[in-house]
Amino acid sequence: MALDLAYTPAQQRFRSEVRDWLAAHVPQAPLATLESEAGFAQHREWERTLAMGNYGMITWPAEYGGRGANLIDWLIFEEEYYRARAPLRVNQNGIFLLGPTLMEFGTAAQKARYLPKMAAGEEIWAQAWSEPQAGSDLAALRATAVRDGDSYVLRGHKIWSSRAAFADWAFGIFRTDPASERHRGLTFMLVPLRHPGVRVRGIRQIHGEPGFAEIFFEDARVPLDHRLGDEGQGWHIAMATAGFERGLMLRSPARFQVAAQRLIDLWRSHGAEADPALLGRVAQGWMDAQAYALNTYRTASRLMAGGSIGVEASLNKIFWSELDLDLHRTAMSLLGARAELVSAGAPGPADDWLEGFLFSLAGPIYAGTNEIQRNVIAERLLELPRA
């Protein structure tokens, strides 16, 4: 019987195991922010702890250090992870994006070199896609990797590189054919960040912390085996990586379900003086988080039955980013006069919501703006003509 929404006994057992392990291992005190050197080190340490429990990347095949878990198990793991208020994943670029990309496009030597250290939490990866003139329009990028004997010489300027401030490596695409245009002549490169000719500079975000970085490549020289796939295949591989980004792994419903639950608590404490209309928005937040969770199970089931993820990724992106914004805007409204407060150091509820609100403003922008996603839906799903 399909449309069967009960967990199997095995799934229930797995949930219990995860819950018990997290209860025993999640740090009692919140870690320092990822955006400080000390905090980054603490998050790195947490990745090592996860890896020791074999919870670092449960969906990876066992040969690369995973458990070969399916997507339903992954969702259960994430539910428990967020329920336990476990730390942010500093390793996400590696395990969700580069890992699967390497498994598909890497040589045996590359897989052996990079995947175990990634799995062990020993090497942390940054993304290096965008450039100042190539934001939404990635094919406009200009950074070059020119072959010179047994190495590539990298020149150019990457920006909006997440985690790069303290990470060890970055991946991105570079123009190996300097005369090429748009999607052609691009090659996927793996680049060490602490390396001659590579300079990283944090970008302060609107909340004042360097969540992103710029990377300047000034004749940085890397060996040929730092290339993933063939020369000129970069766009193709990058699109595969972007496919993993748009897949199911990165944006867990659990995150929004926790936020919706906290928002209901906020109504309980602040609702007496609030505009009654805000209760409707609180309830809508819970419903939308629930809808997102249900739809993720639906997509997971479809993928497990052999389906693939296409335009659904764009529908997802719009939904979660607008949901996240709505949840936080509602919280800011409920906090009223005190919403603006930053309680530096001691995190109070206002502080958490304010930081989350600022972060949620980025949701409709990154990983393809919602404007671009709506174009994609109109053209691919509804088959409307291009302009």
């Binding site: 539910e79 709506r374 509804l382």
Partner: protein, 353 residues
């Protein structure tokens, strides 16, 4: 845990779609809107021939003995076609609830007739005061506070009402609390009445999914073809984004309605929340689809000649049926604040499946 439909489930829905393609065309809806019968009898017969009234009926009553998970796509197809008849009300609201009263002799006799479509039942509930009646109804299921009653058609006083959705034939019942013979009273009647309401809401929601998809299709087709300022209207980004927003709403309303169907019989807080959530999400999607579809059609969307309005009007009508927006929104708010509904990421399926 498997959130996909089986091939059997989708094939049954395809059969209903085929039936509708033959017998529930826009031309037929137009006849209904002009006051004609518009092939109602033939549709009812064909639904009966396919056995679709009996999907949820017990095998012993000549039904298929299937579950609500098997029915929900049928209701969605009924919505897509703006099927005028209260198919879901008979097959998936009245029948499964009456099946719980199978010890009653009259009910036991009635069940096979409902499953075969030879009996035709209308369902009244305080939250559904305007009742869509089948062609030549034979029976009524009457819910009122503390009373669930069965009546024959001639035992009920009903007044015809005129709706903006002239596809359906609606009536209002007077003295529903006194007509017919009580099958249950007190808390048992109220529990059955609550199930009637949940089922009515969930299958109205499922119909709204189909209506949303239909309006999105109509609007997308139109803007692909219609040119203004030398290019297709559908090539304008504003038009694209309007329609894409409808697609997003639809995508995320679907799983909510499907999940609610799996707990249509539940009376726990999670099941009630699921039903209200389904009704709200699907009617929101359908209302946005209606508003968007008419907008991208321009003046054309405003004309009687186009088929669009049949589907818009059904969407508006279903929005108020089986508990209106206020009812479900308030119930949802109460459930979220009362504490009986388990919240949080490990309780996505906090309803009795």
């Amino acid at each position: 845990m498997d959130f996909t439909f089986t091939e059997e489930q989708t094939m049954m829905a395809a059969a209903l779609r085929e039936l509708a393609t033959d017998l529930c065309t826009p031309a037929v809806l137009r006849q209904r809107f002009e006051g004609a019968e518009g092939g109602a009898e033939e549709r009812w017969q064909r639904l009966a021939e396919l056995g679709l009234f009996g999907v949820l009926a017990p095998l012993a009553a000549g039904g298929m003995g299937l579950t609500d998970a098997d029915f929900v796509l049928l209701a969605e197809e009924a919505g897509r076609a703006a099927l005028p008849e209260p198919f879901a009300e008979q097959a998936a609201v009245a029948l499964p609830v009456l099946a719980r009263c199978g010890a009653d002799r009259e009910v036991a006799d009635l069940l096979p007739r409902l499953a075969s479509g030879t009996a035709r039942i209308a369902v009244a509930h305080p939250r559904n005061p305007l009742v869509n009646v089948p062609p030549s109804p034979t029976h009524w299921l009457l819910c009122s506070q503390g009373r669930l009653a069965l009546a024959t058609a001639d035992g009920v006083q009903a007044v015809e009402r005129s709706s903006v959705d002239a596809g359906r034939r609606i009536v209002e019942v007077s003295a529903a609390g006194e007509a017919g013979r009580a099958l249950a009273q007190g808390t048992r009647a109220d529990a059955l009445g609550a199930e009637v309401l949940a089922r009515g809401a969930i299958y109205a929601a499922a119909q709204c999914l189909g209506l949303t998809a239909r309006m999105l299709d109509i609007a997308s087709s139109y803007v692909r073809e219609r040119n203004q300022f030398g290019r297709p209207v559908g090539s304008y980004q504003a038009v694209k984004h309007h329609l894409a927003s409808v697609a997003v709403k639809l995508e995320f309303a679907r799983p909510v309605v499907y999940a609610a169907a799996t707990c249509a019989a539940g009376t726990d807080p999670g099941s009630l929340a699921a039903a209200s959530h389904a009704k709200l999400a699907a009617t929101d999607a359908a209302e946005l689809a209606a508003r968007t579809a008419i907008q991208v059609h321009g003046a054309m969307g405003y004309s009687w000649e186009l088929d669009l309005h049949f589907y818009m009007k059904r969407a508006w009508a279903l929005s108020g049926a089986w508990g209106d927006r206020s009812f479900h929104a308030r119930r949802m708010q109460r459930l979220l604040l009362e504490g009986a509904l388990p919240l949080g990421p490990d309780h996505t399926f906090a309803f009795s499946a």
